[in-house]
């Protein structure tokens, strides 16, 4: 086992799969020679040759559509969309095509492709490099949406995504590519090497899609989070001294409803945290599900701590971002309820 950053773990997942399966190939903008703007595909072209790891024209539409064609052929393409914010020119190909090809052909054609994309804020990226558009994918029948929160999970989940026979949207929380950001932007950031989940096996292993992870057991309340916000939630609970049970969802679709229900039935209180804008955000779905499944066990109204319904601001990033003080306030409201 070696200590890896999330970038190194993702790179290791691609390396492992390209080694195992000649049908796996990867491409995207700056992905080839340069190894990607975040270096997730570094050295893969040198190791596997340009045919298996190459640069694509700046056309997310073309990248997504050609990956669909390759997957229909029988390959397992893994494409990189440089930022999730750039996905929209290829969105039609996800919504009307990738997600429905199995269904509309009655299982005759399938699309085993993985679309990777760094998402989320906290990097001073402004409104075109900070978005969290996960619900644009979770709302589409036929797509799976996966979001890791640690290097260990990132590798195991990416391998599962690549081996999955359906199209998988793999969203990478870029704020924690190099370290588990706790949401206190004015404090020193600790590197992944100090985190237990940075220990990543060199070889093949999988984390199943659709299984959440209880990252911290607790009795007082349940906090649902994914990606960067898992670490922010942990820090907030620690700061407030609240005995929160924190669940890292890891996969939004299919969702691990059992783990969520078991926890909320135990605690009777629920806080949902995500970076994305609130209205029609995934928190709305989670809140509805918790209400449907746990209504009679709830002791207080469900709280959502999310990005605001504004475009992602540049200078006011730390007012916009769901930081620990906002989460702590929500936890206190839930505890008083």
């Amino acid at each position: 086992m070696a200590s890896m950053t999330m970038i190194q773990a993702l790179n290791s997942a691609l390396d492992t799969m390209m080694e195992r399966d000649p049908n796996v190939l990867t491409f995207g903008e700056d992905v080839g020679y340069f190894g990607g703007v975040f270096k997730v595909t570094e050295h893969l072209q040198q190791k596997y040759g340009a045919k298996r790891c190459f640069d694509a024209p700046i056309s997310e539409n073309g990248i997504t559509a050609t990956a669909i064609g390759m997957a229909v052929y029988g390959l397992r393409p893994v494409v990189e969309i440089q930022f999730a914010d750039y996905m929209y020119p290829g969105y039609d190909q996800l919504v009307n095509e990738a997600s429905r090809i199995r269904y509309r052909s009655a299982g005759d054609f399938t699309v085993p492709m993985t679309v990777r994309m760094p998402y989320g804020g906290g990097i001073r990226g402004g409104q075109t490099h900070s978005q969290s558009p996960e619900t644009l994918f979770t709302h589409v029948a036929g797509l799976k949406t996966v979001i890791p929160s640690t290097p260990y999970d990132a590798k195991g989940l990416l391998i599962s995504a690549i081996e999955d026979d359906d199209p998988v949207i793999f969203m990478e929380p870029k704020r924690i590519y190099n370290g588990p950001f706790d949401g206190f932007h004015d404090r020193q950031v600790s590197p992944w090497s100090k985190h237990a989940a940075s220990e990543v096996p060199a070889g093949y292993y999988k984390i199943p899609l659709g299984k959440a992870n209880v990252v911290s057991e607790g009795e007082a309340l349940t906090m649902l989070a994914y990606g960067t916000m898992v670490h922010v939630a942990l820090a907030a609970a620690a700061e407030a001294g609240i005995d929160a049970e924190i669940i890292d969802l890891r996969t939004l679709v299919p969702l691990d409803i059992e783990t969520i229900v078991a926890s909320v039935e135990k605690t009777g209180r629920c806080v949902i945290v995500h970076e994305a804008t609130r209205t029609s955000g995934f928190g709305g779905e989670l809140s509805a599900l918790v209400q449907e499944h746990c209504f009679y066990k709830l002791e207080a109204p469900i709280e959502r701590v999310t990005g605001y319904d504004t475009p992602y601001p540049h200078s006011q990033e730390w007012e916009y971002f769901p930081t620990p003080p906002r989460i702590i306030k929500a936890m206190r409201r839930v505890m008083e309820g």
């Binding site: 229909v72 052929y73 039609d92 009307n96 509309r104 052909s105 026979d165 679709v253 299919p254």
Partner: protein
């Protein structure tokens, strides 16, 4: 700013208009085409730059008397030509009956390919049987030429109990992996970059198969077409991109898609791709150009763009009335004739066919469609009571049914809460 600097003001927004609308006489005046046989045939390894002029010409083999002329005349046996003619007759008879079936309320929707039969049929015959096709919704001739069961096409159109697509797709959005026919989307041009990706995968896997894809003149305006052209050119993908310019996108003439000042084939020039423009109603010319492009692709020399110049003889679909937006007799006056009659005349001129044989073949096609129609209708036509089981609606969304879909599938069975 000094107002005088803008004078005289010549600005006026240009909105392209077709030459003729209902009530006007069809107007093809001033159109000129190269004579049949006059266009030279390049070697398959000719550089795209040297082939630019093809974008502005028109490859023609058959003259209007049925003679095959010039270097593009394909080497194809009379048997094969008769086979092609029969597929075209069958396609037309099929269209005629299914269009009528929609009018009779037996299904919700239909789209004919009247006047465009040569394109799909000749191309399917010029390609290898295992080359992969990514069609639009007007290439039913491919399935017919690849001898996909007619009755299965009808089952699909009727969404009946034997519909291979389980009632999930709009009529005519066929899919058959076995026949190398990709599931038709119903969105426009999305299949074009997918075909390029499939072709890239075939090249990656060194398997020798190529891809072909079709879109209309109207949908060349979609970004997908341009993404496809870029990727095909960049990676020299073994793909044939066919623009079927049938002059009309529902009620918008091809000028609205950018065909007013240049040709659709000329799009290929900007991408460094061989840009052929061919008489789409000339079976031999379509066959020959496709064969050339397939040979070039198979030799790893990259993609070809083909504009098929033709005329949409029928409505866009059963949902529009062309008499509302174009002269009723425009199609009959199309200067390049009817593809079936032109191939018939050619076979007759070769001494390989006769009027009597043609009439008989036509009747056989109609009779085959009629008998097949009865067989399909016995299984069922579109009904408000779907023959598919409720559970089937929830299958094939994913490989396995996830819990939330299982819950939705089963919710009807749950008793009311006490």
């Amino acid at each position: 700013m000094d107002d005088m600097s803008r004078k005289p003001n010549a600005l006026d927004l240009h909105i392209p208009k077709p030459r003729a609308r209902p009530g006007d006489k069809p107007d093809f005046s001033g159109w000129s085409f190269p004579e049949p046989g006059d266009t030279p045939k390049p070697d398959i390894d000719e550089s795209a730059v040297e082939m630019r002029d093809y974008a502005y010409g028109l490859i023609r083999v058959l003259d209007m008397e049925g003679n095959a002329l010039g270097p593009w005349t394909p080497s194809i046996s009379p048997d094969e030509l008769r086979r092609g003619l029969k597929y075209m007759l069958l396609t037309r008879a099929f269209d005629e009956r299914m269009h009528r079936a929609q009018r009779q309320g037996k299904t919700s929707f239909y789209m004919q390919c009247l006047g465009e039969e040569a394109i799909a049929v000749a191309q399917a015959m010029a390609l290898a049987p295992d080359d992969m096709c990514f069609p639009s919704y007007r290439q039913q001739g491919i399935l017919i030429a690849r001898e996909y069961p007619l009755v299965d096409m009808m089952h699909q159109i009727y969404s009946n109990a034997l519909d291979p697509l389980k009632g999930r797709q709009l009529p005519i959005m066929y899919s058959s992996k076995k026949e190398g026919f990709f599931t038709i989307s119903g969105n426009l041009a999305t299949q074009v970059p997918q075909a390029v990706g499939w072709a890239m995968a075939s090249a990656y896997s060194n398997d020798g198969r190529i891809a072909a894809t079709w879109l209309g003149d109207g949908s060349t305006a979609e970004g997908d077409f341009h993404a496809a052209m870029t990727f095909a050119a960049v990676y020299k993908a073994p793909v044939i991109i066919n623009v079927v310019n049938n002059q009309w996108a529902i009620s918008s003439f091809q000028g609205i898609a950018g065909g007013e000042n240049t040709t659709f084939a000329a799009r290929g020039v900007g991408y460094g791709m061989p840009p052929f423009r061919v008489d789409g109603n000339d079976f031999l010319a379509v066959y020959a150009v496709t064969q050339w492009a397939a040979e070039r692709a198979r030799a790893n020399l990259g993609p070809t763009l083909i504009e098929h110049f033709t005329y949409r003889g029928g409505p866009h679909s059963t949902s529009d009335d062309p008499a509302k937006y174009r002269p009723a007799d425009e199609g009959r006056q199309w200067p390049l004739g009817d593809p079936i009659e032109r191939l018939r005349d050619h076979l007759v001129s070769l001494g390989e066919w006769s009027e009597e044989q043609h009439k008989q073949a036509q009747e056989e096609a109609v009779e085959l469609v009629r008998a097949t129609g009865r067989e399909a209708e016995k299984v069922g036509v579109l009904s408000t009571e779907a023959p598919q089981k409720r559970a089937e609606m929830f299958e094939d969304v994913y490989k396995d049914v996830p819990w939330h879909l299982a819950q939705q599938r089963d919710e009807e069975r749950k008793p009311w809460p006490a």
